[in-house]
Amino acid sequence: MRIIPFLAFKDMVRDRKIVLLVIFLLAFSYVNLTFFPAFLNGLSNTFQDEIVDTGTSHIIITPRLESNSPYLNFVSSTRKKIDLIPGVAGSSSHIGLSGTVFFEGKQTGVGITALTPSDDSHVTAIGEKILKGDYLSDGDTGEIVMGELIAGRKIEDRIGQTGGFGAATEGLGGVDVGQKVVIRFSNGVESEFRVKGISGSQGFSLVSQTIYMTAMDAEEILGIDDQASSILVRLNNKDDAARYKKLILELGLSNANIQTWSEASTFAEGLNQTFGIVIIVTTIVGIVIVMATVGIVIFINTSRKRRIIGVLKAIGMQKNHLMMVFLFESLLFGLIGTLLGAAIVYSTVYYMNIHPIVLPIGALKPVLLTSTAVNAVAILIASSLVAGYIPSRLASRQEILETIKVVE
């Protein structure tokens, strides 16, 4: 039926101001439906990158709980096998310790990570998070890098600043590079260390809350050799983690628990779930905007046209065809609105990937998933049609004689 698009187009051209307004509102809804998730994806990526860079790397191997041993064995031969897999950028073993640090009458419990700096530089970015002083070198003994939250700040530093974190984050009250602290490890060994550097980052990262030392020192303190609490593996591509996890599983490492970065970090998962709920809420808001806009506009349009609708029926237009004219308008609203919205969103996302927003924890680049973009098109068009259906149907079913009598 050519008549349906014909009348729909003519009607829309006549009311072009209102049509433009509707299209802009629908485009806005499309942006609302897609840009927000893209932004949150970007934010989530920024967080995840931080976790990957300072915590888990892409794949992390830890001892199984059932093994009853805190350590993996035969670390160097395991790492050699892993390093030979094409696509693996490097691996690094970490030894975890805990203890209490003492400094000028203050003390605090800490987690300590021991690593070999030259290996680790290919795997994590811990070495790049030095705020003051220097990072560790392979041969260092009796030296540590201390997270800034442990080191704390001198009280004077905070004079004049409002707020403040209070005693809990005061740490050791301002340990400086070159000063010495005493660490009593959980196995009873006690030893003095020189602070070589202060590490930290503005995210939620571990580097602000951990003490780093060389694996050499840790092995001596714990009396272990060729053992580690974890092996971290860096890949050339983060998105291949699940595939490489399988490859590493095939190596048949004994007592090893192998996890991808996303499995290992419950934080990232929780973040995504939280964002998921936020996205559902914005989607509902978007649908309501679309339905209200299209529903009201079609309703007003059909109410104004009562007489003409009656005349068209009188001269032989079937009521279903009349209904389709208004449904077709709703469909066009949806289509043009999403097209415009998609153009806006894609260009904004493109621009923001070239000029990312710089947040304290890193650069935020929005990521628009194709599935999000396509779903939003479907949601918008379906909502427009549903919203347009009711007034279109009502209008097309009115009694002809009732409508013809109306004199405008």
Binding site: I3, A314, I315, G316, E408
Partner: protein, 225 residues
């Protein structure tokens, strides 16, 4: 062509019943030009709506082209109107967003004719009615008389058997009114178009072949002119 027998129409609005037609008998043959006259409220429009398959009688029988139209489904009645009946209404019945030409070819388009043929038909019809130079004007750019001529063109474009006009001249000055009625007269003479015209002006009604006067929903008298 049109056969009404004992046609009654009762409108009920809640408890109130209005007896608009009280047993109308009428025959209109192919090629007839009949004018319906009578005071306001006498049932002229009601009768025309029943003849035009826009409304159903309460009692009696209505045959148009020997079809008992009351028996048809709504959908069939709509296609019947499209093919067999042309309407000219009292006032503004043109689509304001369409040009005169586009308004005229709507029935063609509804009947499934292609765009080119639609335009050609509509243009010919406009030439015939003396508004050929107004084809790309919108209704608001036309005078009342021109608008009614466009309405007549629209009513005729599907070559219906029957042309029905309900006071088409009511909102026109006497000169344009006469002009519009003489067009109907000419159509009747030239293509033997069957026409039923409602008017409350005796002088215009007299241009038809036959006049029928209604009063209180019944035929008061008939006269051949």
């Amino acid at each position: 062509m049109i056969k009404l027998k004992g046609v009654h129409k009762v409108y009920s609005m809640g408890d109130v019943k209005v007896h608009a037609l009280r047993g109308i008998d009428m025959n209109v043959k192919k090629g007839d030009f009949v004018s319906i006259m009578g005071p306001s409220g006498s049932g002229k429009s009601t009768m025309l709506h029943i003849i035009g398959v826009l409304d159903r009688q309460t009692k009696g029988s209505v045959h148009i082209k020997s079809v008992d139209v009351a028996m048809m489904s709504d959908e069939d009645r709509t296609s019947f109107r499209l093919k067999e009946i042309g309407f000219v209404f009292q006032f503004y019945s043109l689509l304001p967003e369409l040009t005169a030409l586009e308004n005229i070819f709507i029935p063609n388009m509804l009947a499934g004719m292609n765009g080119k043929q639609c335009r050609k038909n509509a243009r010919e019809m406009m030439e015939k009615l003396g508004i050929g130079e107004r084809l790309s004007n919108y209704p608001h750019q036309l005078s009342g008389g021109e608008q009614q001529r466009v309405s007549i063109a629209r009513a005729l474009v599907n070559k219906p058997e029957l042309l029905l006009a309900d006071e088409p001249t009511a909102s026109l000055d006497s000169k344009s009114a006469m002009n519009v009625i003489s067009i109907l007269r000419k159509l009747n003479e030239e293509i033997r178009q069957t026409i039923v015209l409602i008017t409350h002006e005796q002088s215009l009604g007299a241009l038809a072949d036959r006049g029928i006067w209604l009063k209180d929903g019944a035929v008061e008298r008939e006269k051949d002119f």
